[in-house]
Symmetry: C2
Subunit: 316 residues, 2 copies
Amino acid sequence: MTLTQLEAFVLVARLGSVRAAARVLGVSEPAVSGALAALRQHLGDPLVERTPRGMDLTPGGQRLVPIASQMVNLAVEAEDAIRRARGAPELLRVVATSTVAEYVARPLLNAFTSRHGPIEATLGVTTAAEMPVLLTERLADVGLGPSLTDLEAKPMMRYRLVVVAGKRHGLARAAHLELSALAGQDWLVDASGADPATEIGMLLSRLRVPEGRIRVFPSLSAAWAAAADGEGVAPGVAHLVASDVERGRLVPLPVAGTPIDVLWHVNALGADRRSSVATRLWRFLDTPHAMQAMHRADGSLPVSRFRPPVYVTLWS
Amino acid sequence: MTLTQLEAFVLVARLGSVRAAARVLGVSEPAVSGALAALRQHLGDPLVERTPRGMDLTPGGQRLVPIASQMVNLAVEAEDAIRRARGAPELLRVVATSTVAEYVARPLLNAFTSRHGPIEATLGVTTAAEMPVLLTERLADVGLGPSLTDLEAKPMMRYRLVVVAGKRHGLARAAHLELSALAGQDWLVDASGADPATEIGMLLSRLRVPEGRIRVFPSLSAAWAAAADGEGVAPGVAHLVASDVERGRLVPLPVAGTPIDVLWHVNALGADRRSSVATRLWRFLDTPHAMQAMHRADGSLPVSRFRPPVYVTLWS
DNA sequence: CGGGCGCCTAAGCGATTGCTTATCGCCCAC
DNA sequence: GTGGGCGATAAGCAATCGCTTAGGCGCCCG
């Protein structure tokens, strides 16, 4: 019974799928399956069993989840306690949905780390569904994106969601559009578009856009670049597309109900279980420096540039 | 960072010595030293450091102890939870000081297991100093012997401690003896005699018997056999030596202050952290069956037979 | 009923674990 | 100054871990 095995088990139990657990851990799926098999044999209990939809816990598995989860939590706590006692730089692991990660998280963390002494921050991209699991299992300290239930959440930033297209797009000259008129369009989105728990994902699922008409780009910048080339319509963050709109490369479509006011949130464990760095970041978000950093990214990343779709990127 | 390493660390921290930890774990001392080295390197902290007397915790080590201890505890809890969910026989790990283990624990556990369904009981011999560590680290469920502070203790059995010798021993015909007159004798004892926290050990240290005059036998039976051969004096449990006294092989010495009334205790974690089998044994001790079993051992083990000095003996 | 999704097993690999015995090094006590 | 107690280190070994790729098997969905 190793901590790796317990972690794999907890993630499978919480995410309901070996596949998802493997993705979160950044390993192949047989690696997780193997860990599970070892644990099953060691304890002499199947722990989780396949069902038509997902995996189901056995009675033994149900008892094991909270225990194993706590053990994994304590392992992180142990490393953290020693790190702090040694005076080593603190670790801050942030995860965010792709759009937040792309534009807001990096400048925010830059501003935070430059003010709060030696901190080793890591930034990872994840889906809204995975985020609560990453936080409760202490694979991450802070999650940026939609508000999560069962965790502490606080509004972090307000933005205005619009729909944009290239200036030669068929709808670019329309005077007025109903939202439903966009259901048949080609939608160019980032990973958040494929995530039904984000604002953009919810928009697409409300419109019932067929899967075949959704093209997922590795970044929203890439989607906007494709939109500028007339390949379809894209969700846009008002202040981020402003410069491209000014230069005439993108046109905000006059869709009824837009711009939509949307809130991004910070999510973390309750204050008593939160790491000290996470608490400091939590408070930092109320300062003008944070606000300024989050909005500074308006035109700094040209539409044509985007970062590769790595699952977790390290940065110093 | 493996559970084995954490366990080794906790035991070293709690026992204040690598050696003692190795003995408790039943492995060689380099095994523990190696585990410690691996953990030290992984965490980048010495954790424990040598001092003139024993090992001292670094600040990091101090923070780690409770966390690591809890992790080890949870690991045991996990196995136990699964075992119970599976309906497998429950596990009851009993440790006792040597005298208790030799005469009382076995018949007691036999009576208990034969009444309380399928239980897999193990019996180990330990010192009074190690016992609280074994219990708090969940290496054992129940400890039989002297009353331990910081744990829940309950009187289990009262016995009368006497001093015996062979009938040809110089003191065998004395009409009256002061306790201090025995300080210069050769004392024949079991492991409990070398344990300053047991009644017998306390007696010897009160008398300031020099080390060279204490001969430790693998069992009290062996010590009595040697005493019968006139090799010295030995502590005796009144009702256990009764048959040898009747047959004239041993003589209880008329020492002032003896027989000494002594209590053996059951020790365990607080009721909330105690395993369910331990609780059942705890309650079983109040029954007449328990009392009867504990006293039944009076003559069943002839003086000449004794068990080898294994640290932990398994039995079914 | 075929295809594909999702889990499991197999095979193989390098690194680590966990243990041993033997030896060294330190420090205190005699 | 010199054992002896105690911890660290070395060397060596079998077993396990943790990961990979490749392929099989069950099952829902089209």
